[in-house]
C-alpha cells in the first residue's frame, strides 16, 4: 500500500517529527524504544508489587480483599487513558491523513481492551466479597462495559475492511464518537448514585488513603503505562510490516537480514 494515498516524504519535510511520521523511519526507532519501556515496566512493577503485598497494611474494613485495588485501579485508569490515546491517533490520522497514525490507533486498541477486561474482571472479583455481588448494572460498571464493546467494535470494524486506509478512517469515526463515554465513566460515580465508590485519588484534593497504598498504586499504574507503550510499539512494528510488505524499504530490509 506504499504507493497509494498521500505520504509524508522524508526528503521534503523539514521537521524530524514529520520524518518520524513515515512508517519506514518509525520502524527502527520503535524497535530501539521497546526494550527501554519494557525494562521501565519491570522496574516499576517490582517495587509496586512489593508495596502492594508486603508493605501496605491490611484494610480495617475489607481485610486483605482490598489488595485487588493495586491491579484494579491501574487497569481501569489505563483502560480509559488508552482509549483517549487511541482516539487521539485516530483523529490525527483523519485530519492529517498520515499513514502511521491509523497504525498507532490499531496498535493501542487490543491493549486497551485487555486493560478494560482486567478492570471488569478484577472489579467482579473485588465486588463479590465486599458488595456481595459479582456484577450490578450501575453507571460506572455499565459504562466501563460499554468501553470494552467500543474497543471490540473498533477492532472488529478495522479488521472487517480490506483497504487499510479506509479501515483507519472508519475506525477513527467510531473511536472519536466513543470518546463521549470516557467522561461518562469518569464522572459516573458523581452524576449517578452508584454502588461503585467515588474516586479515592483526584488531582484537586488530598488522596483518602494511606501513603504506602497510594505509592503502590501509582507504581503499578506507571508499570501498566510503560508496558502499554512497549507492547503498542511492538504491535505497530508488525502492522507496519504487514501493510508495507510490498514497499521498497521492506524489501531492502529483507535483503539485509
Amino acid at each position: 500500500m506504499a504507493t497509494e494515498g498521500y505520504r509524508l516524504d522524508s526528503e521534503t519535510s523539514g521537521s524530524w517529527l514529520l520524518k518520524l511520521a513515515a512508517p519506514q523511519a518509525f520502524f527502527p526507532v520503535a524497535g530501539r524504544m521497546i526494550p527501554w519501556f519494557a525494562v521501565l515496566a519491570v522496574l516499576f512493577a517490582l517495587p509496586g508489587l512489593y508495596l502492594s503485598f508486603f508493605v501496605a497494611p491490611t484494610d480495617f474494613q475489607q481485610g486483605e480483599a482490598y489488595r485487588v485495588i493495586f491491579l484494579h485501579v491501574p487497569a481501569a485508569w489505563m483502560s480509559m487513558f488508552l482509549y483517549l490515546v487511541m482516539a487521539f491517533w485516530a483523529a490525527l490520522g483523519l485530519i492529517l491523513n498520515t499513514r502511521l497514525s491509523g497504525m498507532m490507533a490499531s496498535a493501542v486498541a487490543p491493549t486497551g481492551a485487555m486493560f478494560t477486561f482486567l478492570a471488569l474482571w478484577s472489579g467482579a472479583l473485588w465486588g463479590k466479597p465486599t458488595w456481595g455481588t459479582w456484577w450490578v448494572w450501575d453507571a460506572r460498571l455499565t459504562s466501563e462495559l460499554i468501553l470494552l464493546f467500543l474497543y471490540f467494535g473498533f477492532i472488529a470494524l478495522t479488521n472487517a475492511i480490506d483497504d487499510p486506509r479506509r479501515a483507519d478512517r472508519a475506525g477513527a469515526v467510531l473511536a472519536i464518537v466513543g470518546v463521549v463515554n470516557i467522561p461518562i465513566i469518569y464522572f459516573s460515580v458523581k452524576w449517578w448514585n452508584t454502588l461503585h465508590q467515588g474516586a479515592s485519588v483526584s488531582l484537586t484534593r488530598a488522596p483518602s488513603m494511606a501513603t504506602t497504598m497510594l505509592v503502590g498504586m501509582l507504581l503499578m499504574s506507571l508499570a501498566a503505562w510503560m508496558y502499554s507503550i512497549a507492547v503498542a510499539l511492538w504491535r505497530v512494528r508488525s502492522i507496519i510490516l504487514e501493510r508495507e510488505r510490498d514497499a521498497q524499504w521492506v524489501r531492502e530490509l529483507r535483503g539485509v537480514q
Binding site: 485487588v68 491491579l71 478484577s122 472479583l125 512494528r237 510490516l241 521492506v250
Partner: protein, 48 residues
Amino acid sequence: MNWGSFGNFTHMGGYAFYVWGSYLMALACIAGELALLARRARLAERRA
C-alpha cells in the same frame, strides 16, 4: 505487612480466590498478549 508464613500469604486472610484470581488473570492476559505479539511479529517478518 508481616505475613508470618508463606501459607498465610497465599491464604490472603481468606480472600485468596478473589485476590489471586485477579492477579493470575492479569498475568495470563499479559502472557497471552506477549505470545500473540511474538507470533504476529514472526509471521510479519517472514511474509515481509
